[in-house]
């Protein structure tokens, strides 16, 4: 078997779940997440030799994921979504004390840049440097985005987070 085939298969085995969950969190739809994940790994198979040059597997993979997401939004002519941090306060802000958010809803209310940085860190497990490469920003920019994302999520999910001591099933829905 060609070593590149083996490598592509190994990358798929290692990361397809993380990529799928990243897209699912990002889009909120399972079917779209599957399509996008499939597209990512088709591109991985085509460009796996480039990976030998670049090294860092996870960063490379999520850079592909980012391009796939951008292409997806272009194709479907939806509202332009980029992973750049253009509008940190784009979400209208209903009082978090009144509306109890589930995790997905809270993540959806982050700005595009904050959401991408947060999910790349927490779901993808990327370092600040890798996230910076994926999002075309600096490590300090990533740090600032993550700080804002966490502050906002803490605000939106304060009720659920205050029940940390309870069993998992009694927390907010995801």
């Amino acid at each position: 078997m060609d070593p590149t085939d083996t490598l592509a298969a190994e990358i798929f085995e290692r990361h397809h779940i993380a990529v799928f969950r990243f897209f699912r969190r990002l889009t909120g739809r399972t079917d779209v997440a599957e399509d996008l994940t499939q597209e990512v790994f088709l591109r991985v198979v085509k460009g796996v030799k480039q990976y030998h040059v670049m090294g860092r597997e996870t960063g490379w993979l999520f850079q592909i994921a980012r391009r796939v997401l951008i292409d997806h939004h272009r194709r479907h002519a939806e509202t332009t979504v980029s992973l750049s941090d253009t509008d940190p306060d784009h979400a209208s802000n209903p009082p978090a004390q009144i509306v109890a958010f589930g995790l997905q809803e809270a993540v959806d209310r982050l700005s595009d840049g904050e959401r991408a940085a947060f999910l790349l860190r927490e779901v993808g497990g990327l370092t600040y440097g890798e996230i910076a490469d994926v999002c075309d920003t600096t490590a300090d920019g990533v740090s600032a985005r993550l700080l804002r994302a966490r502050a906002r999520l803490r605000q939106l999910l304060s009720t659920q987070l205050s029940s940390l001591g309870r069993p998992r099933g009694q927390r907010g829905t995801s």
Partner: protein, 182 residues
Amino acid sequence: VNPNHLQVLSRFFDGESVEPALLAESLAEPDAATYLAECAALRAWIRDDESRPSERFYDAMHRALSPANTRRALWRRLVRPALAASLLLVGAALGYEIRARIGPPSSMSGIGIGTGTTAMSPVARRPAEPQSTAMHTPPEAAPRQKAEAPPRPGSARESVPVPVAQLRFASWRETGRGGEEH
């Protein structure tokens, strides 16, 4: 909590490098422990996701990847060997053509392919006196000998006029009587 300290705590929580003194200051904040605990809760919550792609996804992936594998396998098994054989044939043809134009090397007769300690073939050990004698013969010698031989009748050499003796009559006088007088 001071936002700078929150940023230090956030970086520390993510495993990024932070200055120890700044970290100590940040951890000394009253709500630092709560902040770290909530970050950990968010992480656990977001990672508490058992969702997996459906069977449809795996089937589609299998179908999508198989043709590519088949094409690459075809390339490896058929096209590459055919290409190598073609290159070999072209090389051989070129070599034959070049040899035909240049001719065999003159030193070929002296080269023997032997086994053991025999390095020279019997052809190479043949004495070369006749050849060397012929080569040292002056090229003018033979034609000169031929020139001294008598010319054959009818040859080109016979047409050259041969010098003849010229007779002079020193006191020649004609008379009116039809006779000659000396």
